[in-house]
C-alpha cells in the first residue's frame, strides 16, 4: 500500500492533498476519520493522526470539535499555488536532465509538447 520511501503519515497527507487538488475531496467536505484510515491501511491510528495534524498545520484541513476533519475553503487554491511553484523544479528539471543525457534537444521536446507524438 505504501512505497516505503517516506514516512506513512506523510504519504497519507500527500494522498489527501492529491484528492483535494483533483477535486475528489471538495471544500468543506469531511474527510475519513483517523480510525477509518487506520483500519483501511492497517496502521496505528496515531500515525494517521500525525498526517492529519500536518494538514491542519498547513491549513489544508480544519477541525470541528467532536465532529471531525474538513477540507479548508481555500485549500485547493493554496495547494495549486504551492505545486505550481514546484512544478518546474520537481517535474521539468528532471526531464531536461534525462533529455540531456540521451541527447534529445529542446526543440524536439517543444515540438512534441505542441504537436503530440508523431
Amino acid at each position: 500500500m505504501f512505497d516505503d520511501r517516506s514516512p506513512i503519515y506523510q504519504q497519507i497527507a500527500n494522498g489527501i492533498k492529491d484528492d483535494v487538488l483533483s477535486g475528489t475531496l471538495k471544500e468543506d467536505e469531511q474527510v475519513m476519520s483517523t480510525n477509518q484510515y487506520a483500519a483501511f491501511y492497517q496502521i496505528n491510528p496515531a500515525t494517521a493522526a500525525k498526517g492529519f495534524a500536518q494538514l491542519v498545520d498547513e491549513g489544508v484541513l480544519y477541525k470541528k470539535r467532536g465532529i471531525g476533519m474538513f477540507v479548508s475553503p481555500d485549500a485547493r487554491a493554496r495547494l495549486r499555488g504551492q505545486r505550481r511553484e514546484r512544478f518546474f523544479t520537481d517535474v521539468v528539471d528532471p526531464m531536461l536532465a534525462e533529455a540531456r543525457m540521451l541527447g534529445v534537444d529542446v526543440d524536439e521536446i517543444v515540438a512534441y509538447l505542441k504537436e503530440g507524438p508523431r
Binding site: 516505503d4 503519515y9 487506520a38 496502521i43 496505528n44 500525525k50
Partner: protein
C-alpha cells in the same frame, strides 16, 4: 502510566533484565523487540506480576501491581505456555476466563474462535501448535484488559491466521483503546501497528520511541565506495557491504537537510531502512565480536 525504575531480574548469576527504566503511557500499542534471550519474557513477566523483580520497581499509576487483585484483573498476559488446563475443552477454557475477568466479552470470544476456525469442543491438548496460539489470541483479546501483554503469541500460526490476528487486534484496539504490548520476531509484518517500539538487547534498554522516529534514524547510503566512505566518516555505521566499486552503508542517527543536500550533490542515493533491518543491525554482533549496541550507549 506504567513506570519501571532500574528494573532488574536475575536467575542465580545470570542477569536477564539489567536495570531498565521505562515509562509506558496508557492506551498505546507497543512493540517489544529483542533477540532470543534478550530478556523480553522476563521483563513482561514482571510487568504482569508473574514474578517479582530482583531489584528496582514497577508501578501502575503509582501502585505496586504485585498481588494486587484489582490490577491483576485488568492485566492479561498471554505467553507460550498458555496457562490453561490442557485436558479442558476450548469452550470450558473460555467460560473460565469469562468468570475471572469483569471485562471479558463472550460474544467477541465466540467471533474470534470463528475467525480462527477453532473447534470449541476440542481439548486444548488436541489442538495443533497454531490452533493453541490462536486460542491464546482469543484469551488475550476477548479479555479486553486495560493492560494486554502478548508475548510471541503467533508461534505456529500460518500467514492467514497471523493476518487475521493483526486485523482483529487493530480493529478491537480502535473500538476499545487499551495498552497493548506485543513482543515479536516477525517485525516487518506488524511494525505499522506499533505506536512506539521498545528494543532491548542483553537485558538492557536500547531504544524506546515513536515508530516513525525510530524508522527515520536508519538510512542506507549508496554510491561510489570512496564517496560513501567520506560521507559516513564520523557517523554511526551499522553495517556496510560492497558490490564492485559500489558501497552501501547503513547509518544510524538520521540526516539533517544539509546532509541530504550534500548526498544529492555528491551523487549518493539515500533510502530508508525498515524497522526489522534496523533492529537486526542494532542487535547483531559485529565481525570483531563487539555489539553494535555499544556504539549507541
Amino acid at each position: 502510566m506504567i513506570s519501571l525504575r532500574e528494573l532488574t531480574v536475575r536467575y542465580g548469576a545470570t542477569v536477564a533484565v539489567d536495570g531498565i527504566t521505562l515509562d509506558l503511557t496508557p492506551d498505546k500499542i507497543y512493540g517489544l523487540l529483542g533477540r532470543n534471550g534478550s530478556g523480553k519474557t522476563s521483563l513482561l513477566s514482571v510487568l504482569a506480576s508473574y514474578r517479582r523483580a530482583s531489584a528496582g520497581t514497577v508501578t501502575v499509576d503509582g501502585v505496586d501491581p504485585f498481588e494486587n487483585p484489582a490490577l491483576m484483573r485488568g492485566t492479561a498476559f498471554i505467553r507460550d505456555q498458555l496457562d490453561v488446563t490442557t485436558q479442558d475443552r476450548v469452550d470450558r477454557v473460555l467460560d473460565f476466563a469469562g468468570r475471572l475477568r469483569p471485562t471479558w466479552d463472550a460474544g467477541y470470544a465466540e467471533h474470534l474462535t470463528d475467525v480462527f476456525e477453532l473447534d470449541r469442543r476440542k481439548r486444548v491438548s488436541a489442538l495443533s501448535r497454531g490452533q493453541r496460539s490462536s486460542l491464546g489470541v482469543v484469551l488475550g483479546l476477548a479479555a479486553r484488559a486495560p493492560l494486554t501483554i502478548l508475548d510471541e503469541v503467533y508461534l505456529g500460526m500460518d500467514a492467514a491466521a497471523r493476518t487475521a490476528f493483526y486485523r482483529e487486534l487493530l480493529a478491537d484496539y480502535l473500538a476499545h483503546p487499551r495498552t497493548i504490548i506485543l513482543s515479536t520476531h516477525l517485525i516487518e509484518e506488524v511494525a505499522d501497528l506499533f505506536e512506539q517500539v521498545i528494543v532491548i538487547d542483553r537485558g538492557r534498554l536500547l531504544v524506546h520511541e515513536d515508530t516513525d522516529t525510530f524508522k527515520a534514524r536508519g538510512v542506507a547510503v549508496t554510491g561510489p565506495a570512496a564517496v560513501v566512505d567520506a560521507f559516513v566518516s564520523g557517523r554511526t555505521v551499522l553495517s556496510e557491504r560492497s558490490l564492485g566499486g559500489v558501497r552501501q552503508a547503513t547509518l544510524y542517527g538520521g540526516l539533517d537537510p544539509r546532509d541530504v543536500e550534500r548526498a544529492g550533490a555528491e551523487g549518493l542515493s539515500l533510502a530508508p531502512v525498515g524497522v526489522q533491518d534496523l533492529f537486526v543491525h542494532l542487535t547483531s554482533g559485529a565481525a570483531d565480536g563487539t555489539h553494535r549496541s555499544e556504539a549507541l550507549r
